[in-house]
Each structure stands twice: as structure tokens, then as C-alpha cells.
Subunit: 348 residues, 2 copies
């Protein structure tokens, strides 16, 4: 048996912070072979992907133009990390699927594209089926902590009447872009203006997480409402060069509710802020399932977001390769799991 | 669309405590139709299953002899709850599969029958494929808390170096049979004699849970060792009529270790006792994943065992109906989830 020939051949599409993390992990996994990389940055064009990642060269070059790569290279799976929005990713996704290649996307909206873009979801499903391949969206959230983990926790539940889940994280490791979209360091007035003009967006993925839970359990959710409020600090907080004084905004409390008629059946909460511990709030993931039985779960600290998004993208590669053709969600596949050693990939 | 015709037709096989719970849940779910029940107890033969369950009659009779039922009734899935051991269940399983019927078993060893009985696993896989149906073993443990939940928790893990998981439960609600097999109320000498003569067995399912984790993650486990020790109470504990004095045995601490070479890569612990809180130990499920990222999860109290075993058996019914032919494990299927409302079943 020639193990080399059996390795899954993967292209990383998009080399931002997340895409670079995925590419590094692909290179580190025995069962995977990185056979190409695509990014729009002209500075990367023709560069060895290893060197772009700050590692030793690996003999695979990044390209700005995927035409040649798609036409001449045998590729099993593309992992794509270019945007949060399915509408923006659609042309690339159709191009990849039409080349007969399976796709794992970390675009937040791709976790359940039917939630906000049913026509795009139908189109992706049709294109994938036409070419005999499959496509799925994954990520730490949406795609894992506030949806897949929630539904898996109900595996033995006889009845579920209500679900509450919360993910409390610390934005301190992130940079100015994240701070800006979460309103970190703003005044109350600036925060309200930012929400009004769309520059402060909170979390992307709540409608998708609620769709996944609702569809997996059949809860009959007919309406999703979201609410963004400022987290006003009562203490001084320091994150790198940034100082939040008491009364300033440390982040964004984003809540989404799924209703069946007048009843709030699902409530997901994701307060994103710098240094929550400074104000007495522990980071972690918290899930409560009301019903039979009642279940209270917590993790502490929260499952690390950036690491886990790259991880689940790579762990899903053999799952999407083995899937039947079409558009899948993470709830439609056997759970992705950490895959250690080549054999764990090659068996799937 | 005639919803009545689309309901999944299920037979409950075995009407002990767990089988009765499963039958009640099948009757309560809109998407399922209980079309038969099998039990060896002569007192049940010909009795309405509703009345056997202490409910209103439902127009379906229990039978001691499944021949007529298998020959004349269209059955989609049998849920079977007769024993913990695959060897003992094998004749019934082959008979059901050979009738072209899918099977969900709660026999502990069926969670991963290849772990201890590879030849039986191969035989079941062959018989199922021959008849175009599928079979899976599930339960709260093995089948959920100390394996499926563990592997799902690694969905975003880049590396897993070691896993520790513990399930601390309270046996107080159980009866004399469970107390006896866990050594509750014995002296130290009686406990040791019970372990030696096989009457004190501890938990059934550790080799299966380790096989599921190892196979899902590819950890390279090559050896499983188990250890049973008495939980000697330091305080007086009362469970119903039973009194445990200080120095007496309150239950059984059962530990299983999965080794790769000399390294203990998985350690599962299941101390089963009455009134652990009396001795300062909280009930709950505890999972730690060492690696990247490190994850600490806990539930409190533990996910209720009897309820969740009946729940996962029923929640798995549409999963096994949709599965490709052959022997499956819970890690091979999309995660079972609580299914609320008929539509959640009928879509699958």
C-alpha cells in the first residue's frame, strides 16, 4: 500500500490569519498533502507557501490566479477562508465545485446558508450534486460551540423545552479590526452610532446557529430576533496598548432569540469584550438544556476560537470527502474529531 | 401527504426497566408508531403493551414469540434491550437483520462490538449488508458521555495528547441488583471476594468507549487495562432502606486506561456509589482534553443515565433508518439529537 498516494490532496484558498492557520495545520498532518494555495495578495504570487507562512519551503507556490491550478492539479478538497458572507464567496465556491472539488468553508454564513440565503443554498446544493461533490461550512462558532455541541448534548434527551447557551470570551489577543467591529474602547454614544451605521456588527452567525439547532431537533422556531448592547466597564481594563476606563465600552453583548410563536425557545448569548475577568466575569462556554433530563454544561476557559476554527476546518476534510454529493451542514455529517496520525484520515 | 403512512414503524424487543422506558418514549413521539413488542415473560404474552406499561391500551399486543410479528408486519426498526452482552444478543440480532429490519441495540458491548468480539462484529456487518439494513449500539455510557461527547469535544482540536474523563453518579435510585453488582454495602473482604468471583463487575463498556475514542481520533491505542477498587465510605450514608456505615463499601471505583506503548493516552473513571455528596463528591461528568487547545468540560449533575439511555435509543431510530447498510457505531452517524415533533423524524 502506497501511503503517499492515499493522502488527501488539499488546496488552501485565502491566506489571511485564519487561512494561514489552516495551511499550517494541513502541512502538519500526515494524512493530508497541501497541493496548492490561492490568495489575492500580489506579494504572495509565485512565493512558496512554506516561506509565506514563515517556515521552510515546501515546494508548493501560492498563486493569485487559480485557473491553472484548478485545470491541471488533482485536488480532493479546497479549504476556503476568504469572507464571512456567502454572497461574496459564491463565485469562488461555484468555480471550485464546478471543477469537481469538495469544499470546506469557514465563512460564518456557510454554517447554514439556508438560514439567510435560501436561494444561494439551493444553488450551491445543485452545483455540488451536478458535479458529484459536497460542500460544508464549519467554524468554532457558528459550527461547533453554540450549535453542534448543543445538539450533541441532547443525544439522550427525551424532551427539550428550551435551550440557553452562552459563550464568554476575551478579545484581548485580537487586533484593531476586531476591536472596531465589537465597539471596544468606544463611548456609549460612539457605540450607538456604530451599531446604527453598521460598523459595529457584533457576532456573525446567530441565525445560522439557531437554524442548525432548530433543524436538528425540530423545535418549530419561526422567528429569530437579535439584540446588540454595549458592555460598559465598571473597572479599568488594559489590553495591550488599549486602556478602557470605567464607563467606556469594553465590548459588545450580542443576544439572539429563537421564537416559536410567542415562546422564546432558544437564547444564545455571546458577550465579546476585552478582559472580562477584570469585571468578575469568567470566560467559558455555558449550555443549559431544559427538558428531560435537564443538563448544565460548562467549559472554562472557552474553547479557544482561532485554534478551533482552523482545527475544525482541517478535521472536516475527510468527512466532506466521504459525504454524499450536495450541500451539507455540520449536523448532517458524523461529528468532526481531532485526527491524529495519517491512518485516521485514510480510513475515512 | 399522508403523515400517518410516513411514521417510522418500530418494535420494542425486551420489556425490562430500560425496554419499558423506550416503549413509553416511542408511544409519546408523533413521528414513531409502535407496531409490536416482544418479551419472554409469559405473563405479558398477548397483553396490550399500553396496559403492560400501566397506560391506556394502544391496540398493540406483546408477544413471547416474534416469528409471526417478523413475518407479517412491516417493521422499519427494532429497538432491543435484552442484555449487556453481544454474544447473548447475537441470535436475536441475526434474526431481526435477516428479516430486513434495522436495529438499535442498547447492549453495552454493541457500542463497539469489534472491541471485544471482532468476529461477531464482522458477522453482524455481513448479515446487515446482505439484507440491506443497518445496526448500531447506543446508550448513555458507553455510547454518549464517555465517548461520543468526548470525541465531539475535539471537533476543533489541532492536536490531542491525552484524554481524561470521569462520570460521577449516584446509585441511590437503583435497586438491589445494581447494588450487588457494584458491591454497595459490602465489607472490604466481601468486596474483594465479589470481584474475584465475578459477582461485582463494575461498569460494562470501558473497552468499547476507548475503542470509539481511539478509532475516531486515531490515537494509536494498543492496550486497555482496567482496575476495580472499593469506594470505602468515611461517613454514614443512607439510600432507602440501605445504610452504609463508615468503613463499609459505598460502591465501586472503576478505571480504564488506554495505552499507546507505555503512555497512558486515555483514562476513563466511573466511580459508581450511593450518596457521593455525603462524602463531599459532586455528581457530574468531567472531560479534559489535553492538547491544542486544552479543554475542560463539566456537567453537574451527571447526565441522567436511565432517561438518557432510553432517549438516545429513540433519537437514533431515524439515524439508523437513513444509514447505509452494515454495522455502525455512534461515531459513524450524524450525532443523534433530541427529536421534537413528527417532522424531525420524517425528514430523516
Amino acid at each position: 500500500m502506497n501511503t503517499q498516494q492515499q493522502r488527501i490532496r488539499v488546496v488552501q484558498w485565502g491566506l489571511g490569519a485564519m487561512g494561514r492557520g489552516i495551511a499550517q495545520l494541513i502541512l502538519a498532518k500526515d494524512g493530508l498533502e497541501l497541493v496548492g494555495a490561492v490568495d489575492a495578495n500580489p506579494a504572495y504570487d509565485g512565493q512558496d507557501i512554506g516561506e509565506v507562512l514563515g517556515q521552510d519551503p515546501v515546494g508548493v507556490n501560492v498563486t493569485n490566479d487559480p485557473s491553472m491550478l484548478l485545470a491541471t492539479t488533482r485536488i480532493d478538497v479546497v479549504t476556503i477562508a476568504t469572507t464571512s458572507w456567502v454572497g461574496r464567496q459564491l463565485p469562488d465556491l461555484k468555480r471550485i465545485l464546478s471543477s469537481g472539488i469538495n469544499v470546506v468553508s469557514i465563512a460564518e454564513e456557510m454554517a447554514a446558508p439556508e438560514a439567510q440565503h435560501p436561494e444561494i443554498a439551493a444553488e450551491l446544493d445543485a452545483v455540488a450534486r451536478e458535479h458529484g461533490v459536497s460542500i460544508v461550512g464549519v467554524g468554532v462558532n457558528p459550527g461547533f460551540v453554540l450549535d453542534l455541541l448543543v445538539v450533541t448534548l441532547t443525544a439522550g434527551s427525551q424532551e427539550v423545552t428550551r435551550i440557553e447557551a452562552s459563550r464568554v470570551n476575551d478579545l484581548s489577543p485580537y487586533g484593531p479590526t476586531v476591536f472596531r467591529t465589537q465597539g471596544v474602547g468606544t463611548s456609549l454614544a460612539e457605540f450607538e452610532a456604530g451599531v446604527a451605521d453598521g460598523s459595529i456588527v457584533g457576532h456573525v452567525g446567530f441565525p445560522e446557529s439557531i437554524a442548525l439547532i432548530n433543524d436538528a431537533l425540530g423545535l418549530g422556531i419561526d422567528r429569530v430576533e437579535q439584540q446588540i448592547t454595549p458592555i460598559v466597564s465598571s473597572v479599568r481594563r488594559e489590553a495591550g496598548d488599549l486602556v478602557i476606563e470605567p464607563g467606556q465600552v469594553a465590548g459588545c453583548n450580542h443576544i439572539a432569540s429563537g421564537y416559536r410563536g410567542d415562546a422564546e425557545v432558544i437564547r444564545l448569548t455571546h458577550p465579546q469584550q476585552v478582559c472580562p475577568e477584570a469585571d468578575g466575569r469568567s470566560t467559558g462556554d455555558y449550555i443549559t438544556i431544559y427538558g428531560t433530563p435537564e443538563i448544565h454544561l460548562s467549559t472554562g476557559p472557552e474553547i479557544a476560537g482561532g485554534i478551533a476554527t482552523a482545527g475544525i476546518a482541517v478535521n472536516t476534510i475527510p468527512r466532506i470527502l466521504a459525504a454524499s454529493p450536495g450541500l451539507k451542514r455540520v449536523i448532517d455529517l458524523p461529528a468532526p474529531t481531532a485526527l491524529m496520525g495519517a491512518s485516521a484520515y485514510l480510513r475515512r
